[in-house]
């Protein structure tokens, strides 16, 4: 560096080697950063991207501000430039849509302006038919509004009604307090001398009756136990009786032996009966033959009868002939006067 003086002076510039180059580099760094920041800003503002205009018509511009995004499937594809009032009082929202993203907007696209409870207003585009005709530049479309905060008064009204109902239920003379009071009475009676029985019957007298019934039932059960003991004795006697009967029936000199002998005799009787029946069968065979003969004879009686009847008719005819040829034959003809 060049120092105008030969001797060092107070606060004289520091002797830094290559100071001009370093200072130039710092300046280059500063201007490079400024230039990069400026280009980035222009790029981010869409200065280098061609856009097309879309006009959305709404009835209210509340929540709409320049710089808001128009999103399609969550991706920003356009930006609100400004909102203005139209001649008919409606709101015109002017949106610049990037031309490279404008292909997502079609003639059939629907635009919504949604306002949630949390966060800002959002403009969204929905395209159902992607092969419909593309949206032209400067297109004017209505926008559907959805305002969650508009539901708040309705919800508050419902909550108020609910709270009123709750207050009515829980006030001192309300049904809930009455129920609690009765429950308290019931609990006191449960803890009383009659306990749950008193609660179930509702009065001490009825509870007393039930307790008396239980006591009587206990007595009855005692009697039933005595009866059961008697029945036990009877059963023992019956057991002995059955033992005796068994000996009488199945013993060596019991009824069973006699029955066996009788069965032998019955078998012999049956043999004789079978022989008699065979003879009867033979008689029946003969009777069957007789029957057959009678049937054939009966069959021959028909023609015989026919012959007899023919003979009789001929005899009758002969007698008639005799009457006609006989001199004393009567005039059989009836003459009318």
């Amino acid at each position: 560096m060049t120092n105008p003086t030969s001797d060092p002076l107070p606060l004289a510039p520091d002797l830094v080697p290559g100071v001009r180059i370093k200072a130039a580099l710092l300046l280059v760094l500063l201007f490079s950063l400024l230039l990069a920041a400026g280009l980035f800003l222009l790029k981010s503002r869409g200065f280098f991207d061609p856009t097309q205009r879309l006009v959305l018509v709404a009835d209210n511009s509340e929540g709409v501000a320049p710089g808001m995004n128009l999103t399609f499937s969550g991706f920003p594809i356009g930006q609100v430039r400004r909102a203005e009032l139209a001649d008919d009082g409606s709101v015109r929202i002017l949106i610049d849509v990037l031309e490279k993203d404008a292909r997502w907007l079609r003639e059939s696209s629907i635009f919504t302006l949604e306002r949630g409870l949390v966060g800002g207003t959002q403009i969204r585009a929905y395209t159902g038919i992607l092969n419909a005709a593309p949206l032209p530049d400067g297109a004017v479309r209505p926008v559907l509004r959805g305002d969650a905060s508009a539901e708040i008064p309705k919800v508050l009204s419902s909550v108020k009604d609910l709270l009123n109902s709750l207050n009515a239920l829980t006030r001192s003379d309300g049904p809930v307090m009455a129920t609690v009071s009765q429950l308290q009475t019931t609990t006191a009676r449960l803890n009383g001398p009659r306990g749950a029985l008193g609660v179930l019957t509702g009065s001490d007298a009825d509870a007393r009756k039930i307790i008396d019934s239980i006591e009587r039932t206990n007595v009855l059960l005692g009697h039933l136990a005595g009866l059961a003991q008697s029945a036990d004795g009877v059963a023992r006697k019956a057991d002995a009786l059955i033992g005796n009967a068994d000996a009488q029936v199945f013993g060596p000199r019991g009824l069973t032996q006699d029955v066996k002998v009788s069965l032998g005799q019955v078998n012999a009787l049956l043999e004789q009966t079978r022989a008699s029946l065979k003879k009867v069968d033979a008689v029946l065979v003969e009777a069957q033959g007789v029957g057959a003969n009678v049937r054939s004879a009966t069959t021959d009686l028909g023609p015989l009868r026919a012959e007899v009847e023919a003979s009789l008719r001929r005899v009758e005819g002969l007698i008639g002939e005799l009457h006609r040829k006989w001199p004393l034959a009567r005039d059989t003809e009836v003459k009318l006067p």
């Binding site: 107070p10 002797l15 710092l26 760094l29 500063l30 710089g67």
Partner: protein, 267 residues
């Protein structure tokens, strides 16, 4: 009843003190304006002053660059993580990046850069000049026919301004890169959305306010301490008191600029 003597002197003091304060402020503003005019004057950068300015730029700015770059990267990383994690907790991730850009790039980083330059560059430089003036060390410059204002004072003013602007711009760029990497990682997938979000935040009005704020921060940091150093204290107070007063004055000015920018952006 006639007012007593102490009452009269108190009333006179009540009138005199604000008047003196206003006169000093006006004097200070006048000196700062003169320095500003000198700064934009091409004659201030001609030889032999150009070399002195280049020397101060290198001496004052170069040592700060690496440290402040690391600091701003760390600060950006921490604040971005806090904001993004909080936004995820409340399901407001779509606003996280906008909040990060608004908070860091628009507000914190320029203010931090201005404060750093004020404390590391501007205040020590102004203290040097003030001490030299008190000791009459600038007289040899005049004796040799060199204007000490151009040779001693202006390089320090220009250096303060340059450092403030460079650190603010550099740390803003670093913050943008760190915030993107923190949220999207080493992937270009989020770049279109990020660029879009940046453009959404930096509307023309916000950009102008940001530019003006950074410029005013730099001017305040460069000019006010030096104007205080060139001011002759009528009360002849100690050097430490004068420096503290200069620091307070600078901080109040920076705060007022910040409040004004906030009011411009959000009111």
């Amino acid at each position: 009843m006639q007012p007593s003597l102490p009452t009269v002197s108190l009333l006179a003091l009540a009138v005199r003190l604000p008047w003196q304060w206003a006169v000093r402020l006006a004097s200070l503003a006048w000196r700062a304006a003169c320095l500003g005019v000198l700064m934009i004057s091409p004659a201030s950068y001609r030889a032999p002053y150009g070399n002195a300015i280049a020397s101060r730029l290198v001496v004052d700015t170069l040592p700060l660059l690496a440290g402040y770059a690391a600091f701003s990267a760390l600060l950006s990383l921490v604040i971005t993580r806090i904001v993004v994690t909080t936004a995820v907790t409340y399901g407001l991730t779509q606003y996280a990046m906008e909040v990060v850009i608004r908070m860091l790039v628009l507000e914190i980083i320029p203010l931090a850069a201005a404060l750093l330059v004020a404390l590391r560059v501007a205040m020590p430089n102004s203290a040097d000049v003030s001490r030299a003036r008190r000791r009459g060390e600038l007289e040899p410059w005049r004796a040799r026919g060199v204007d000490p204002l151009g040779m001693v004072v202006m390089p320090r003013v220009v250096s303060g301004m340059f450092s403030s602007v460079l650190l603010a711009v550099m740390s803003s760029v670093i913050t943008l890169v760190v915030a993107y990497l923190t949220v999207y990682g080493f992937s270009l997938a989020g770049l279109p959305t990020y660029v879009w979000m940046f453009g959404k935040v930096f509307t023309p009005a916000v950009t102008v306010v940001f530019f003006l704020k950074t410029l005013l921060f730099s001017l305040a940091v460069a000019l006010l301490p030096m104007a205080s150093a060139l001011d002759d204290d009528p009360n002849n107070r100690s050097r430490t008191v004068a420096e503290l007063q200069a620091i307070v004055r600078l901080l109040v000015t920076l705060l007022m600029i910040e409040v004004a920018s906030l009011a411009s952006n959000y009111i």
